[in-house]
């Protein structure tokens, strides 16, 4: 695995009979950086990720990998899938084998790897997601959060250079969110570029290096502070401004926060605030 640059240019993606879901969407997934794809439900986030993964063929525009356009031929798609993997939101629609280990082995087996290699891939993927202890369990006995992580492991076992995750934290409680984010960090250190879609603006601000907002059938991309501090953009996208930017801006106006980037979460804010009253930094 190595970080590679996935991009889409001028993507027009539509389902039949309706006007396109996306109409001229352009975005770049910078190699090795964390990209959050933000958008309201129904904005086309999932459609965009499915197109980038090769599952949907755009009506116009191209998907490129390190600048090379994706060919929607049998062979082109096979090569693309070895590099880019998508994990959909509902884990139940991805776990289709009896046991966890069997499910995770599905991809590597289809790659034609020898048994030993498949076994080590399964162990590696489950360990990266910190769910190695679940290997022998039937998937229907797992909790929702566990199933979500096993579904991610199924894609990780393909050793993708780019991993696209649709709403990986939706429905998870705070500790499961923390576990998932920690797993994503390990994946990144393992040379997978990680993209996640979400409608949680606070999470995006905290986690992402870059933010792509899906709005009005297109995509606007930029640094988290610019995108998530742009009230006009957020209103069009039916999203909210993260509380940290709202509160941070006021505290800076009160002279309590230093110039530069605003803190991205509660811990950052506490660290940046003065300890004692009356001593603005």
């Amino acid at each position: 695995m190595s970080h590679r640059t996935l991009a889409g240019a001028g993507l027009v993606i539509g389902y039949e009979r309706t006007r396109p879901v996306l109409d001229g969407a352009t975005l770049t997934v910078p190699a090795g950086r964390r990209l959050a794809v933000l958008g309201a439900n129904g904005s086309g986030k999932t459609t965009l990720l499915r197109c980038l993964s090769g599952a949907l063929r755009p009506l116009a525009g191209t998907v490129t990998l390190d600048g090379v356009p994706l060919a929607h031929s049998r062979r082109g798609l096979r090569e693309h899938r070895q590099v880019v993997q998508l994990v959909l939101q509902d884990p139940d629609d991805q776990l289709f084998s009896a046991s966890v280990a069997q499910d995770v082995s599905f991809g590597p087996l289809n790659l034609g790897l020898p048994e030993d290699a498949v076994r080590s891939r399964v162990v590696e993927a489950l360990d990266l997601l910190a769910v190695g202890h679940l290997a022998g369990r039937p998937s229907h006995q797992l909790s929702f959060g566990e199933r979500k992580r096993v579904a991610i492991a199924g894609a990780v076992a393909m050793r993708p250079c780019v991993l696209l995750l649709d709403e990986p934290t939706a429905g998870l409680d705070p500790s499961a969110v923390a576990d998932t984010l920690a797993a994503l960090t390990r994946l990144q250190e393992h040379d997978s570029t990680v993209v996640m879609s979400t409608h949680d603006v606070d999470l995006a601000l905290r986690w992402a290096d870059d933010v792509a907002v899906v709005v009005d059938r297109t995509v606007v991309q930029g640094p988290p502070e610019d995108m998530l501090g742009n009230d006009a953009l957020l209103a069009r996208a039916r999203l909210e401004r993260p509380w940290a930017l709202t509160v941070g801006a006021r505290l800076r106006a009160l002279g309590l926060l230093p110039e530069g980037t605003l803190p991205r979460d509660a811990a950052g804010l506490l660290a940046a605030l003065p300890d004692r009253p009356g001593v603005p930094t």
């Binding site: 084998s97 009896a98 046991s99 039937p138 229907h140």
Partner: protein, 207 residues
Amino acid sequence: MHIAEGFLPPAHAIGWTVAAAPFVVHGARAVVREVRENPESTLLLGAAGAFTFVLSAIKLPSITGSSSHPTGTGAGAILFRPPVMALLGTVVLLFQALLLAHGGLTTLGANAVAFAVVGPWVGYGAYRLTRALGGGLLPGVFAGTAVADLATYVTTSLQLALAFPDPTGGLAGAVVKFLGVFGVTQIPLAIGEGLLGVLLFRALTVN
């Protein structure tokens, strides 16, 4: 393949509807009784019908290069028993006619005889026979699903032959023709459906 709307002469359409009726009514009685005893079986039976419908949306390639959809009649008969399949199969055929433009309303009776009566019963018979002869579950499932698929299409061929006897070869000639086009070509696909049945049941028993 289902016999399309309007393809059968009126007398045949009515005849097959009359032939299917006792089986479907028997199935309906069984369903009414079941639901009266366990109201929640409405949902289970509905799920069974929906599964049968969706199963036919799976595309199976054949070694000959063509591809087809499973009939689901054998798997349904083994899972839900033939009497219930007579009713569920007919509901599914009605839905296929209205949602997918497969089959028709006047040909519903003829299609029900092939897909909801003969296929399930013959397939179920092959399943029980294989089990009785000492075959395990999976050989039984293979025999049941493959034979059900084949029996369904043999029935369709016979129905068409009866409706359109050959001007020179008569009924026998027509049977040969329709079996050649709708039956023999089905053999690899029936084997395919048998394999799918085995894989389906194997996955279920592991669970």
